[in-house]
Amino acid sequence: MDYFIQQLVNGLTLGSIYGLIAIGYTMVYGIIGMINFAHGDIFMLGGFAALIVFLLLTTLFAGVPVALALLVMLIVAMLMTSLWNWAIERVAYRPLRGSFRLAPLITAIGMSIVLSNFIQVAQGPRNKPIPPMITDVYHFGEVTIQLKQIVIIIVTAVLLTLFWYIVNKTPLGRAQRATEQDRKMAALLGVDVDRTISITFVMGAALAAVAGTMYLMYYGVAAFNDGFIPGVKAFTAAVLGGIGSLPGAVLGGLLIGLIESLWSAYFTIAYKDVATFGLLAFVLIFKPTGILGRPEVEKV
C-alpha cells in the first residue's frame, strides 16, 4: 500500500507537468483547430531559459535564496516563451490561418525542428545538469515525499485555478470562448480575434514555461531534445482528455503521469510508453473524442 501511495505521488508530479503542457495544446487546438507541434519545444525553451537564469543567478549572486531564485526563473521563463510563441504565431502561423488544414501542421513541425536544432546549435548538444535546488524530503511511514514534488503539485494547482478563473470569469476568457465557437461571428461582435489568438498562444507558452521550469527543478537536467517526448505525451494527454477541453487536458495529463509511474512500478519500465499510447488508442476506439470531449454529432 505504501509503495502504491509512493507511486501515486510520483505519478501526480509527473502528471502535473504533462497537464501544464497539455493545456497549451488543447487551447490552441480549441481556438484555431491546429495541432501546435512546436509546443513541446516551447516547453524545452522554457526549461533552458530557467537554466540560464539559474546559472546567472548562482554565478552573480552566490547564495541567493532558493525560493527567490525559483520565482525569478519562473517569471523570466514565462516571459521568454511568451515572447517566442507570440513571435512564432505572428510569423509562421498567422499567414496560414484559414488556409489548407495541413499547412499549419507542417509549419508547426518545421518550427519544432527549428527550435530544437536552434538550441542544439546555440547551446550545444550535451545534457546540461544543474546541482539539485531543493533536497528536502518528508517521510510518512514508508512513503517518501520530496519537497520539490509538493512544490510542483502546488504550483500547478495554483496556476490552474488562476487560469480557470481567467478563462471562465474575465472578458478575455469570454473573447476566447467566443472565438473558439465562431471566429467570424466573434469578429462581427467586436472581439479582436487576432489579439485573442495571440493571447491564447502567449498563455499556453507561459504554462509550458512553468512546466519547463518544474521539469528542470525535478530532474535537474535540460537538453535540446527534451521537448519531443514530454510534448508528445502532453499532446496525447490533451487528446485522451478530449482535445479542446481544459479540464480534459489536466485529467489526461494526470492519467498519463499515473499510468507511467504505476506501470513502471508494477510491470516493466521498458514498456511504459507503450502502455500510455496503448491506453490512448484504446480510449479513442471506444470514445472517439476523448474522455471529456464533446461527442461529435455528424452534421448532415
Binding site: 465557437q181 465562431d182 464533446r294 461529435e296 454529432v297 455528424e298 452534421k299 448532415v300
Partner: protein, 292 residues
Amino acid sequence: MASVDTSMTSKDTILKVEHLSMRFGGLMAINDFSFEAKRGEITALIGPNGAGKTTVFNCITGFYKPTMGMISLHQKSGKEYLLERLPDFMITREAKVARTFQNIRLFSGLTVLENLLVAQHNKLMKASGYTILGLLGSPLYKREAKKAIETAAHWLERADLIDRADDPAGDLPYGAQRRLEIARAMCTGPELLCLDEPAAGLNPKESLALNTLLRSIRDEGTSLLLIEHDMSVVMEISDHVVVLEYGQKISDGTPDHVKNDPKVIAAYLGVDDEEVTEVIAEVESLDGGAKA
C-alpha cells in the same frame, strides 16, 4: 390526429415509415411519425422550419439510427429492406435509395464528370474485379468504364451540364451545383430518390427547369421523396404531400387536400402564440446545432 385522405392507397408502396421516433438527448425531434410513399409518384414532405423533415430524411438514408420505428423499402423486384437496420452506404448500394443534401455536398475538387463516376463506384468496382483485373487492364473493365462515362454524359445532358463536364464541381454556380447533385444521385441507379430542398436558392427559371427534370425522372420510373419549402414547387409537381410539424404528422394527402387543411393553414400562417413557440423551437434547434 392527422387527417388522412384515403383515396390514394391503391398504388403499390415503395417506402413505408411506421411509428418513427427520434430523440436527441431530451429533445423529441420526431414523434411517432408514419407515412407511405407510392411507387412512381413524387411525395413531398413539408412543414415549418425545425419540424424535423431533414431528421426524417437522415433516418431513411441511414445517417441517423431512429430511436424507434420501422422503415421498409419495397423494390420493384419484390425485395424488401428494413432501412433502419442497414448501414448508410448499404441503403444506397443494396436498397437503391439515393439522396441529396440541403447544403450541397459535392466533391468540389473533382470535375463534374468525376463526380458522376464516383457515383457509379460499386458497379465499376465489380467490373474492375475489385481493382485487380482493372490494374491488369482487363477489357471488361475498359468496356464498363466507357459505359459509365456514357451514363454520366446522359445525366449531364439531362441536367444541362454537359458543357461544364471537365470543370471542377466547386467552380459551378449554385443552381448548377444543385442539378449536379441530383444527376450524381441518379447515377447510382436508385429506385427512390430523396431530395432535401432541391429548389432552395434557385431563381424562377432554374426552378422551372428543375420541375421538368424531376417530372421526367418520375416518369421514367424512379419514385421521388422531397423536402421543400417553396410551396409553388410542391403544389406544382407533387402527387402526394405529407405535412410535419414539431415532429408529428398533421396532414397527409393530395396537394389540394393539404392546401385546404385548416391545420396546415394554421401551422404555416400561424396564430401569434404559435409563432412565438416556433421561434423558440428554432432558436433551440440552432443552439443544439451550435453545440454539436
